[in-house]
């Protein structure tokens, strides 16, 4: 019997909503104009882009002319960091970030280190939280940028962005946040958060892949990242991907208008999942903070087993989830986030990330937990590490 598949990897990507697809469709073949042209087709495209820009601005409390479209969240992160670093090079060469950032930020910072910049990678506490005090202490007279994510993609920890922003404002340092995971999950207001730049991508909130945006507060000095034509007010060249931009606009409007109720639903799923797993499966631990975490995110370590095996077995049961094991990251080390919160390598290898979304139900939660109980005990029976514990 074919059972319904359960997708619980919404932190990786989400299915595009029908309303978003419908909004995008006219901008492929019918209204195909280049937004930079003066005639009717071009004006049509330009209007669509401008409406999407309004929608994005409204969703995060920004002004329309502070929103710049990009091709992805990664591009927004790369641009924010490199663009600010080089535009403010005369002021200093020091950048502050955290050990748990997404690779789009971490690898960009590492690249800058090879180009004469100095980067401080702040540690996090056991929950994955950056301390505002640490940010304050790390700022020196050469610091030009602080970049800390709004919420962590692996363990869901929501960072004290507002407080960090207060500090950077006082010190006159530019503050960027990667809010890729946070949009649609929690209230995002760039003014309340005291941020100067903010990255996002549409596909994490039921919009299209290959869509992204960067908020740049008015007055912030930033160099273009992609040079060429005069699109995006000379800041980001390349013919506008109108359909994708329209999709991003539609998706963010839907995500923010329905957020409160949806987040509550996701939290209920998340908490039931976490509670059941911790209660019913021994040798497990929750990674991240119990309450200061993204509504749909659960990250659990199962001792004595390895994450990829767990994922493959879940997949066979029709469940799609994610892990921080080395074997799933394509590298040899387990997730840098799990190591940064102090997990031992072997425990980090056995982690599971479940990220709930709109399609999930309480029945799904129960089916996942029931499957996990069988799978985890089967893998443990096969594990020489468990044998050692059992025989103690």
């Amino acid at each position: 019997m074919e059972t319904k598949r359960i997708y619980v990897d919404h932190a990786a990507t989400t299915p595009m909503r029908r309303e978003v697809l419908d909004a995008m469709l006219p901008y492929f073949s019918e209204n195909f104009g280049n937004a930079s042209t003066v005639y009717a087709e071009g004006r049509e495209a330009k209007k669509a882009v401008s409406e999407a820009r309004d929608a994005v601005a409204k969703a995060i409390g920004a002004n329309t002319d502070e929103i710049f479209f990009t091709g992805s969240g990664t591009e927004a992160d790369n641009w924010a960091i490199r663009g600010v670093a080089f535009a403010n090079r005369a002021k200093g060469n020091h950048i502050i970030t955290s050990a748990v950032e997404h690779h789009a930020v971490l690898h960009t910072c590492q690249t800058l280190e090879k180009e004469g910049f100095e980067v401080t990678y702040l540690p996090v506490d056991e929950f994955g939280m950056v301390s505002p005090e640490d940010v304050k202490n790390a700022i020196c007279d050469r610091t030009i940028l602080v970049t800390i994510m709004t919420a962590n993609n692996e363990i869901g920890t929501v960072m004290p962005i507002e407080e960090i922003g207060k500090i950077t404002r006082e010190k006159g340092v530019i503050f960027h946040t990667d809010a890729v995971q946070a949009i649609g999950m929690m209230e995002i207001d760039v003014n309340k958060m005291n941020v100067d730049l903010l990255s996002m991508t549409g596909h994490k909130f039921y919009g299209p892949k290959g869509s992204g945006a960067l908020y740049v507060k008015k007055g912030i000095k930033i160099l273009p990242f992609i040079t060429g034509g005069a699109q995006e007010r000379n800041k980001r060249a390349g013919t506008e991907n109108v359909a994708s931009i329209v999709g991003l606009g539609k998706a963010i409007s839907l995500a923010t208008s329905e957020m409160g109720e949806k987040a509550e639903k996701l939290k209920a799923l998340r908490d039931r999942f976490i509670d059941r797993v911790l209660e019913e499966i021994p040798y497990t631990r929750l990674n991240g903070h119990k309450t200061k975490r993204l509504a749909g995110n659960a990250n659990i370590s199962f001792e004595f087993i390895e994450g990829e095996s767990l994922l493959l077995m879940l997949d066979m049961q029709g469940i799609s989830a994610s892990s921080g094991s080395a074997c799933t990251s394509g590298s040899l080390d387990p997730s840098h986030v799990l190591l940064a919160i102090g997990l031992k390598h072997e425990v980090a290898h056995g982690s599971l990330r479940v990220s709930f979304g709109e399609s999930n139900t309480m029945e799904d939660v129960d089916r996942i937990v029931d499957s996990l109980k069988t799978i985890v005990s089967r893998l443990r029976e096969m594990s020489p590490l468990y044998e050692a514990v059992k025989n103690k």
Binding site: I305, H345, H349, P384, L385, E387
Partner: protein, 149 residues
């Protein structure tokens, strides 16, 4: 990314378990790297035939599948024949492994060597000239990755 054979051996691994009266036990790998394989054998002292073999593995899909396949391959073989099984042969028997997973097939080969070394060590015979190492494969399992890039 995995062949059907790998998935078959992963989802229905052969020879999982322990042998209580095993006379050859080897463990290789490192929890830090994310894979450990422990292999149990019962070797006939007269014929030097591997009569029984079981394994336990902590690791990814490829680690489990290579453990399963390697135990199938050594079962019934003599020590000399078992020592001839290479990591490439284990990988080929599984219709290949993704390049980043080739180290898992080393693990299986090393586990076999480690168990056979243990067999000789228990008898007070230095296994170095037979197995090619002293059997402390947990230490020499250092070919993890870097060379594969």
């Amino acid at each position: 990314m995995y062949s059907e054979k790998v998935m078959d051996h992963f989802s229905n691994p052969r020879n999982v378990g322990e042998i209580e009266d095993a006379n050859a036990v080897g463990q290789v790998g490192n929890p830090k790297c994310g894979d450990i394989m422990k292999i149990y054998m019962k070797i006939n002292d007269e014929t030097k035939q591997i009569e029984e073999v079981k394994f336990k593995t902590f690791g990814c899909g490829a680690a489990v599948a290579t453990s399963s396949m390697a135990t199938e391959m050594v079962k019934g073989k003599t020590i000399d024949e078992a020592l001839e099984i290479t990591n490439v042969a284990v990988a080929e028997a599984l219709d290949g492994l993704p390049p980043v997973k080739m180290h898992c097939s080393n693990l299986a080969q090393e586990a076999i060597h480690s168990a056979i070394a243990d067999y000789y060590n228990r008898k007070g015979i230095d296994p170095t000239h037979i197995v090619g190492c002293n059997g402390d494969c947990a230490c020499c399992h250092h070919d993890h990755g870097e060379s594969e890039e």
